[in-house]
C-alpha cells in the first residue's frame, strides 16, 4: 500500500520531465514524418534542387525561393494515405513539408476561422465539397494554367482555384455469386425496382454517399432525387456505418449489392486476400457514374506560393499519380498514367456533367435525407 503513492509520484515526475523537455524545444520535433533529410532541407544548400525535381511543369517558376523553404499543408487526407507521398516529395525536392492532418471538413472550418492569418500554404482535401466551401470564402489563390491543364476540366474548379488530384468513383459493389453483372441496371434509378427489395446495403451517413445525393439533386432536381431516395427506402435497404462494412456484407452474402466508393473493395482485398465481391461502374452520364475527387488548392494568404505550386505540381506529376493508382487505389486524373488494372480508364467512364464545386452545399441534401426518413 505504501509503495503505490511513490510509484505514482515517480510516474508524474516522469511525465513532467518529458513535458519540460518537449516544451524546451521550440517545435515538438520527433514525429513519424520527419526524416533525416529535413535537417539538410533547412539549410540554404539546396540550390541545385530544381534540377533534381523531375518532370515538374511548374519547376521553371520555382527557383526554390532562396530561403530553402518550408511548406505548410493542411491535409484532410490521412497520413496513412498520403504520408509516404509527401515524404517522397521532401526527398525529391529538398523542401520541408509540415503537414497538419485532420478531418477535411474540420480543417476547412479551421481555415475559415483562420482567414488571412492562416499558417497554411496548401489545403489538400478529401472531397470537392470542402474545397468549394473554402473557395466560396475567397481564400484560394488561382493556380497557374500549367498545373491546371494537367487534369481534365471535369475534375477541377472552373475558376482554377483548386484542382483534383485523384478520382473516387461511386460504384455498386456486388456479390458475383448472387447476382450476375448483366442483371445490374444501367442507371442508379434501376435499384428502385421492387426486385431489389432487401438486397441493397448503403451508408446514408457517409460523406461520399451524401455528395452523390447532392449530385443527384443538382443533376436531376429535388423531386427526382426524393423519388430515388424513397424508392430505395421502399426496398428496405440495410444500413451500415461505413463503406467497408458494406463491402464485407456483400462479400459474405448479407446483401447482394451496395453503394460505395470504388477503392474500398481494393483495399479490403489487400487486407483480406480474397472476397466474393466486384465493382460495377455506371456509365453514359448517369448520376450513378459520379466521380468525386480529392483535390488541392493554394491559400491566398500563403507567403510561399512558389513552393505551394511546386507541391501541387508534384501531386499531378506522373510519379504522384502513379502513387495514387497503386497505393490508394484511386483513379489517377492525369492522362497517360495507368490506373490499377482492375479499374476502368477514366476516359471510358462518361461521368455526369456537373461542376464538382457545386457539391459544396449539402445542407439541402441533409434536409432531403431527413425528410425521406433516411437519416
Amino acid at each position: 500500500m505504501a509503495r503505490k503513492p511513490q510509484l505514482l509520484t515517480l510516474f508524474i515526475a516522469l511525465v513532467a520531465m518529458l513535458a519540460i523537455s518537449a516544451c524546451g524545444s521550440p517545435q515538438v520535433a520527433p514525429t513519424a514524418t520527419s526524416q533525416p533529410n529535413t535537417g539538410q532541407a533547412a539549410q540554404p544548400t539546396n540550390a541545385p534542387q530544381p534540377t533534381e525535381a523531375p518532370q515538374q511543369p511548374a519547376e521553371t517558376q520555382a527557383p526554390a525561393a532562396g530561403q530553402g523553404g518550408t511548406l505548410t499543408v493542411y491535409s484532410g487526407r490521412t497520413e496513412d494515405l498520403v504520408g509516404p507521398l509527401i515524404e517522397q516529395f521532401e526527398k525529391d525536392t529538398g523542401i520541408e513539408v509540415q503537414v497538419k492532418y485532420g478531418d477535411t471538413a474540420e480543417l476547412a472550418a479551421a481555415l475559415l476561422e483562420e482567414g488571412d492569418a492562416s499558417p497554411a500554404d496548401v489545403f489538400f482535401a478529401q472531397d470537392a465539397g470542402a474545397l468549394g466551401a473554402v473557395r466560396k470564402a475567397g481564400l484560394f489563390a488561382p493556380l497557374s494554367e500549367a498545373i491546371l491543364s494537367r487534369v481534365d476540366e471535369r475534375f477541377r474548379a472552373d475558376d482554377g482555384s483548386w484542382i483534383g488530384v485523384s478520382g473516387r468513383a461511386r460504384v455498386v459493389v456486388y456479390n458475383p455469386e448472387l447476382v450476375k453483372e448483366e442483371d445490374l441496371p444501367e442507371t442508379i434509378f434501376g435499384f428502385t425496382d421492387p426486385k431489389w427489395k432487401g438486397k441493397i446495403g448503403w451508408a446514408p451517413t457517409n460523406g461520399s454517399f451524401q455528395a452523390f445525393v447532392t449530385a443527384l439533386r443538382v443533376l436531376e432536381g429535388e423531386e427526382r432525387a426524393r423519388e430515388w431516395l424513397e424508392g430505395i427506402q421502399a426496398n428496405e435497404p440495410k444500413v451500415y456505418p461505413k463503406n467497408t462494412a458494406i463491402v464485407e456484407a456483400v462479400a459474405n452474402g448479407e446483401v447482394e449489392v451496395g453503394f460505395v466508393n470504388h477503392y474500398y473493395l481494393l483495399r479490403l482485398l489487400k487486407e483480406k486476400g480474397d472476397l466474393k465481391a466486384k465493382n460495377y461502374y455506371f456509365n453514359n452520364s448517369d448520376p450513378g457514374a459520379l466521380i468525386n475527387v480529392a483535390g488541392v488548392g493554394m491559400l491566398k494568404s500563403s507567403d510561399n506560393k512558389e513552393l505551394a505550386e511546386q507541391f501541387i505540381a508534384y501531386l499531378v506529376s506522373e510519379k504522384a499519380q502513379q502513387y495514387f493508382s497503386s497505393e490508394t487505389f484511386e483513379h489517377p486524373l492525369v492522362e497517360g498514367v495507368k490506373a490499377d488494372p482492375r479499374l476502368p480508364g477514366l476516359s471510358e467512364v462518361q461521368t455526369p456533367k456537373i461542376d464538382l464545386s457545386d457539391l459544396e452545399d449539402l445542407d439541402g441534401t441533409l434536409q432531403l435525407l431527413q425528410d425521406a426518413g433516411v437519416l
Partner: protein
C-alpha cells in the same frame, strides 16, 4: 475596568474596512479562479459572435420542428445513459468497496478501464460485435440458428455505447464517496435496529448523493458532447447535428446557433444537479481518526455478484479488446507490419500529463473557492467550468482557433494552446474530484493551521492540499485518461506534426485500415491502464 500598562502597539493593518464584516476569499484565490472562469467563457463568446453573424436564416432553422425533436432525443439519450450508469455503478461500487468480493482489486481496475476506450473505437466494436450480423450472431448461428440480431443502430446502440464507456465516471465518484463515509454512521444505524439493506438505503445512499450527482453530471455532459458514439450509431443528438453542419456544408452560423442551444441544455443539467446538492455537510466530525469499515461477507451472494462484474467487464472491456485483437491478428496474418508507434504513445503521455497538471492547477482555486467560500460568485465560477465539457470538441477547438488568431496570435498552433484546449474540455473532472475531497476535510483543521501561525497560503499548501491529495490525484488521473483519447481538439490545435495515439487510431480507422488502427488502440488501453490502476486502487495510506 483594568487599564492597560503598555500602550497599544498599532500593527500594520492587513485588511481594509469591511462593510459586511465577513471573511472574504483572499485575492490569491479569487483572481486565478476568475481567470479560469473567464477562460471557460471563450467558447461561449465565440459562439455568440458566430451566431450573431449567422443571419436570420440560422435562427429560423433553430425554430423548425426538427430542433425540438433533436432536443428531446438528446435529453432522452443523456438522461437514460446517466440513469443506467447510476444503476450499474451504485451496486458495483458497493461490491468493490464494501464486500469481500473475490478478486476485488482485479475487478476494481477492470470495471473502471472502459473509461479509456474512445467512443469512436468502442462504438465501432459494439456495432461489429453486436450488429445484426456481427460477431455475436456468427457465434450464435451454429448454436441456436439465429439469423439476425435486432437492429443496433439508433437509440439502443448509442445508449449502449455511451453507457458502457462512460459509467466509470459515476463508478469512480461513488467509490470515492463510499470510502469517505464514516463507518460509525453505519454502525449507529445498525445499532438503532436497521438491517444492512435499510442502512444502505437510509444512511449510505443519502450520504452518497453528492458523489452520485457529481459522477452523473460528468456522464450526462459526456453524453451531450460525445460525437463518436452518436455518429457511429446514427443517432441524432445535438452534437451529431452540429458536426453535420460542419461536415456537410461548413455552415458555421447554424452550427453556432445549435451549439448555443446545447449550452442552454447544459445550463439546465447544471441547474438540476445543483439542486440535488442540498445543504447537508459531509465532512467527518473527527478528521482522520476513523477506522476502515469492516467488509461485508457475501457468502453465497458472491456468485451472482461475480456474474454481474463478469458480464460488465465482458461487454465493456473484453469485447472491444477482443475485436481489436481480432483485427490486429487478421492484419498481421495478411502481411500488415506491426507498427507500435511508440513516438505517438510518448507524445500522448506528454500531452495528457501536462494537461492533467494544468487542469489540476486551474481546478484548485475554483474548488477551494466553491467549498470554503460558498457564495453566488464562487458558485458561478465553479459552474462555468462545466461548459467546455458539454460542448463538442470541434466547437471548443474552433473557438480557441478564433480566440488565438484574433487575440494571442503567437500561441496559435503551439503546445500551450493545445493544453489550454484540453483544460477547457476536461477541467470539471478535476474540479469535481478535488471538490469532493475538500468537502470531507473539516474546516477546523484549516483553522488549527491558522491558529498555529500559518498564513492562508501556507495552510493551503501544508494542510488542505496534502489532505485533498486523493482528490487531486484522482482529478489528475481522470484528466490524463480522457486526454489520452481526445481527438478533435488534438487534431486542430496541436502543433504541426504532433501525433498522439488517438490521432493515429483516427488516421487509420477513418480510411478503414482496421488492422493498422488496432495496434495504437491496444497501446492506448495499455498505456492508460497504469494510471487507471493508481486511480482506483489509489492512495489510501492514511485512510485505512
Amino acid at each position: 475596568m483594568a487599564t492597560v500598562s503598555r500602550p497599544f502597539q498599532v500593527p500594520r493593518p492587513i485588511s481594509r474596512s469591511r462593510s459586511q464584516r465577513r471573511l472574504l476569499p483572499p485575492f490569491m484565490l479569487t483572481l486565478p479562479a476568475l481567470g479560469v472562469a473567464l477562460g471557460m467563457l471563450v467558447p461561449i463568446v465565440y459562439l455568440v459572435i458566430r451566431a450573431a453573424s449567422a443571419g436570420e436564416r440560422a435562427w429560423l432553422l433553430l425554430l423548425r420542428d426538427r430542433t425540438l425533436s433533436v432536443f428531446l432525443q438528446t435529453v432522452l439519450l443523456a438522461g437514460t445513459t446517466t440513469l443506467i450508469s447510476v444503476l450499474i455503478a451504485v451496486p458495483l461500487a458497493w461490491l468493490l468497496v464494501r464486500t469481500d468480493l473475490p478478486l476485488r482489486h482485479f475487478w476494481t481496475v477492470a470495471t473502471a478501464l472502459p473509461l479509456v476506450i474512445p467512443s469512436y473505437i468502442g462504438g465501432f466494436t459494439v456495432a461489429a460485435a453486436l450488429g445484426p450480423r456481427g460477431m455475436l450472431q456468427k457465434i450464435l448461428e451454429p448454436l441456436i440458428g439465429v439469423q439476425r440480431l435486432p437492429e443496433i443502430y439508433g437509440f439502443p446502440g448509442a445508449l449502449l455505447t455511451l453507457t458502457l464507456f462512460s459509467y466509470p465516471y459515476v463508478l469512480l465518484s461513488i467509490q470515492a464517496g463510499l470510502r469517505g463515509i464514516d463507518p460509525s454512521l453505519e454502525e449507529a444505524s445498525r445499532s438503532l435496529g436497521h438491517g444492512p439493506w435499510s442502512t444502505f438505503r437510509r444512511i449510505i445512499l443519502p450520504q452518497l448523493r453528492p458523489s452520485i450527482a457529481a459522477g452523473s453530471l460528468l456522464v450526462a455532459l459526456y453524453a451531450l458532447s460525445d460525437f463518436g458514439a452518436v455518429s457511429l450509431m446514427q443517432f441524432d443528438s445535438f452534437t451529431r447535428v452540429i458536426y453535420m453542419q460542419y461536415q456537410a456544408s461548413i455552415n458555421r452560423g447554424f452550427a453556432a446557433v445549435m451549439s448555443l442551444a446545447l449550452v442552454a441544455l447544459t445550463g439546465l443539467v447544471l441547474y438540476s444537479e445543483g439542486r440535488t446538492r442540498g445543504r447537508a455537510r459531509y465532512y467527518r466530525s473527527a478528521g482522520g481518526c476513523n477506522r476502515p469499515a469492516t467488509l461485508i461477507r457475501l457468502g453465497r451472494w458472491r456468485w451472482p455478484a461475480l456474474a454481474f462484474c463478469g458480464l460488465l467487464v465482458l461487454l465493456a472491456l473484453m469485447m472491444p479488446l477482443g475485436v481489436m485483437i481480432y483485427w490486429l491478428v487478421q492484419g498481421l496474418s495478411n502481411g500488415e507490419p506491426l507498427r507500435l508507434v511508440w513516438s505517438a504513445a510518448l507524445q500522448s503521455i506528454i500531452a495528457s500529463g501536462v494537461a492533467a497538471v494544468a487542469a489540476v492547477i486551474a481546478a484548485v482555486p475554483v474548488a477551494v473557492l466553491a467549498v470554503r467560500y460558498s457564495g453566488r460568485l464562487s458558485k458561478w465560477i465553479e459552474r462555468s467550468t462545466y461548459i467546455g465539457h458539454a460542448l463538442p470538441g470541434l466547437v471548443v477547438a474552433l473557438a480557441l482557433i478564433f480566440f488565438s488568431i484574433n487575440v494571442v496570435r503567437p500561441i496559435y498552433q503551439t503546445f500551450a494552446l493545445l493544453i489550454a484546449g484540453y483544460t477547457v474540455l476536461f477541467l470539471p473532472q478535476a474540479v469535481g474530484a478535488i471538490r469532493s475531497s475538500l468537502l470531507q476535510i473539516s474546516p477546523r483543521l484549516e483553522e488549527a493551521g491558522r491558529s498555529l501561525g500559518r498564513t492562508p497560503r501556507q495552510v493551503l499548501a501544508t494542510i488542505t492540499l496534502p489532505m485533498a491529495r486523493p482528490g487531486v490525484m484522482a482529478g489528475a488521473a481522470l484528466v490524463f485518461l480522457t486526454t489520452m483519447k481526445e481527438l478533435p481538439v488534438t487534431l486542430l490545435l496541436s502543433p504541426i506534426g504532433f501525433q498522439t495515439l488517438a490521432t493515429r487510431i483516427w488516421s487509420a480507422s477513418s480510411e478503414a485500415f482496421w488492422a493498422r488502427a488496432a495496434a495504437p488502440a491496444l497501446l492506448l488501453v495499455l498505456v492508460s491502464s497504469l494510471p487507471m490502476a493508481f486511480l482506483v486502487l489509489g492512495d489510501r495510506r492514511w485512510r485505512s
